[in-house]
């Protein structure tokens, strides 16, 4: 997602227009990323806050089969199938090798699902692992590999399209992708969505917990160069801002109104209480925190490596919930249809969306909505190629000699976790300044110069904690944002417990 954001920032600075095929391929890559990421988040990162793995051992496989068949036509739903999953899980547990399920808070009183629902969710945890591995072959076709796709290019994409070439996106690769997209839509509609709607009723109190700031920002994404019948928008998912949970007004986004504070962040500015717009942004690290291991941060001073971005001085939540709220309030028909369907089935109003459960539901609805677009977008690409449009890049402004001496640009995308922006200043053919304000910077930000909390912080206020030694409820709300603090570097401290340190004082 950072790759497409970066090329957009440079293209914006230099006034480069990309051809329609490059736009479609970027949309397909981003849509596939979104769908895969959301499924993984639900089953493999988030669900274990709600699903008690150990309880699944006491489920009746026959009753589990009945439950599964009552909510979905998904074919893997027989008694024998669920018995098989339970046997596998039993082997893990009796062998003392829980693997990814080690160190859970199994048996915590906040787990509410009956054993059969737990077993169904465990089965789909495993099914989702298999499905996502196949599905992401889309990225291998369009980007040569995953992660870190290799086919981006300032001016378009570097993957040729030609039905007469073995070394290009051709009929075979289009057909292969269409199969994967069709399977994805089925998986999302027959497994992911029914599971979310089956689990949510046991946790409806979480539709009133974990709200956060009540302000939401979406840059919008999926440019529609060739709108399908009935579409008039320039972006499939619209851009906009919602303030104070007021869905009656969608405000326009102006990136020049974004600025970052470092008052409570381990950076130095000339004026520590001033916020800088990213084109004038600075990255001067200044760690003033304690030497690890430590019990407490000095939260009156600087306490995070994340800056505090604000929009007109307001903290903003970004992510699937922000996108779905902006789209819903803008009247985007596909989003409206699926949000209303989900709310109707849960018998709650739109106010339930401002919550921990709302984030989880919005992520699922977004996956359903996008899964319906992948096949038509791929058909468009195929039709363009068949019609003889093989353009994939515009290189008329490739040479730095064609660039102005100074230029600045802004690029944005909607990453799975939310609004992502890159700001670049170019001088004499080189990058003079570069700033990335990523989704988890918005959501995970510390306080700003005015003492305003970031969205994670605000969302935790009022969260019940039954047992401070097992803060499961805090994890539920934090995980509902799908944090991504930094993706490429991993540090292990061998003096600590492998999967977490909890200090209670």
């Amino acid at each position: 997602m950072h790759a497409v954001c970066s090329v957009r920032a440079v293209e914006n600075a230099l006034g480069i227009q990309i051809p329609p095929n490059a736009n479609l391929i970027r949309n397909l890559i981003a849509g596939a990323q979104m769908i895969q990421d959301h499924v993984i988040h639900f089953y493999h990162l988030g669900a274990l806050d709600w699903v008690d793995i150990v309880s699944a051992l006491s489920a009746d496989p026959g009753a589990t089969s009945q439950l599964a068949q009552s909510i979905s036509p998904w074919p893997d739903s027989s008694t024998a199938y669920f018995k098989g999953v339970q046997d596998r899980l039993n082997a893990f547990v009796s062998g003392g090798q829980l693997g990814p399920f080690t160190n859970g808070y199994w048996g915590h009183p906040a787990y509410k699902l009956p054993p059969e629902a737990n077993l169904m969710a465990v089965a789909h945890y495993l099914a989702a692992l298999d499905w996502q591995r196949e599905f992401i072959k889309v990225h291998a076709i369009l980007g040569a590999k995953n992660p870190h796709l290799q086919t981006y290019l300032v001016g378009g994409m570097a993957c040729p399209v030609d039905f007469n070439s073995q070394a290009a996106i051709n009929e075979h690769s289009i057909a292969f992708m269409q199969d994967l997209f069709t399977q994805a839509e089925t998986f999302v509609k027959q497994v992911y969505l029914p599971d979310v709607l089956a689990i949510a009723p046991f946790y409806l109190e979480w539709a009133g917990l974990g709200e956060g700031t009540g302000n939401f920002l979406s840059y919008g994404d999926y440019p529609l160069f060739q709108p399908l019948a009935g579409q008039t928008a320039e972006l499939y998912l619209p851009s906009g801002i919602i303030l104070g949970r007021d869905l009656s007004t969608v405000h326009l986004v102006d990136q020049e109104k974004i600025a970052e504070y470092v008052t409570h962040s381990w950076y130095t500015y000339a004026n520590e209480n001033e916020a800088l717009q990213p084109w004038d942004g600075e990255t001067k690290p200044n760690y003033t925190g304690p030497n690890p291991p430590y019990d407490r941060l000095n939260t009156d001073g600087k306490y995070s490596w994340i800056k505090a971005p604000r929009y007109e001085d307001k903290p903003m939540e970004v992510g699937p919930l922000a996108r779905m709220l902006v789209a819903y309030a803008s009247g985007q028909p596909d989003v409206k249809k699926w949000v209303d369907a989900a709310l109707g089935q849960l018998k709650v109003g739109p106010e339930a969306l401002f919550s921990t459960l709302g984030r989880i539901a919005a992520r699922c609805v977004e996956t359903v909505v996008l899964s319906e677009q992948m096949v038509p977008w791929t058909e468009q690409l195929a039709a363009n190629i068949q019609g003889g449009d093989l353009r994939i890049e515009d290189n008329t402004l490739w040479e730095p000699s064609t660039w102005p001496a100074e230029a600045k640009g802004f690029g944005s995308t909607e990453a799975p976790r939310g609004a992502l922006g890159h700001w670049v200043r170019i001088k004499n053919g080189r990058i003079e300044r570069y700033q990335a304000v990523v989704p988890s910077t918005w959501n995970g930000s510390p306080r700003d110069a005015n003492g305003q909390m970031g969205p994670y912080e605000a969302a935790l206020i009022g969260t019940p904690v039954a047992n401070p030694d097992q803060p499961l409820e805090i994890l539920r709300t934090i995980h509902s944002f799908d944090p991504c603090m930094a993706c490429a570097v991993h540090v292990v401290d061998p003096t600590r417990r492998e999967t977490g340190t909890f200090r209670v004082s």
């Binding site: 941060l297 490739w398 990058i431 805090i474 934090i478 995980h479 991504c484 977490g500 200090r503 209670v504």
Partner: protein
């Protein structure tokens, strides 16, 4: 009043620490801290803008 620190939060990407005050079974104050420096902005200075995406992609 109980002070909780969860570090690292698992089942996420990257490194996140949450500190919270809990009083009478409810969170009354909270702090979010990323415990890892990124610095890609510094790495990108003075590079060719056409190469930026390859570096930024590693964020």
């Amino acid at each position: 009043m109980t002070h909780i620190a969860i570090d690292p939060i698992t089942r996420i990407e990257g490194h996140l620490r949450i500190e919270a005050e809990v009083d009478s079974g409810q969170v009354t104050d909270a702090w979010s801290s990323s415990t890892m420096f990124r610095g890609i902005e510094i790495i990108l200075q003075n590079r060719d803008p056409r190469d930026a995406w390859l570096f930024a992609q590693r964020i």
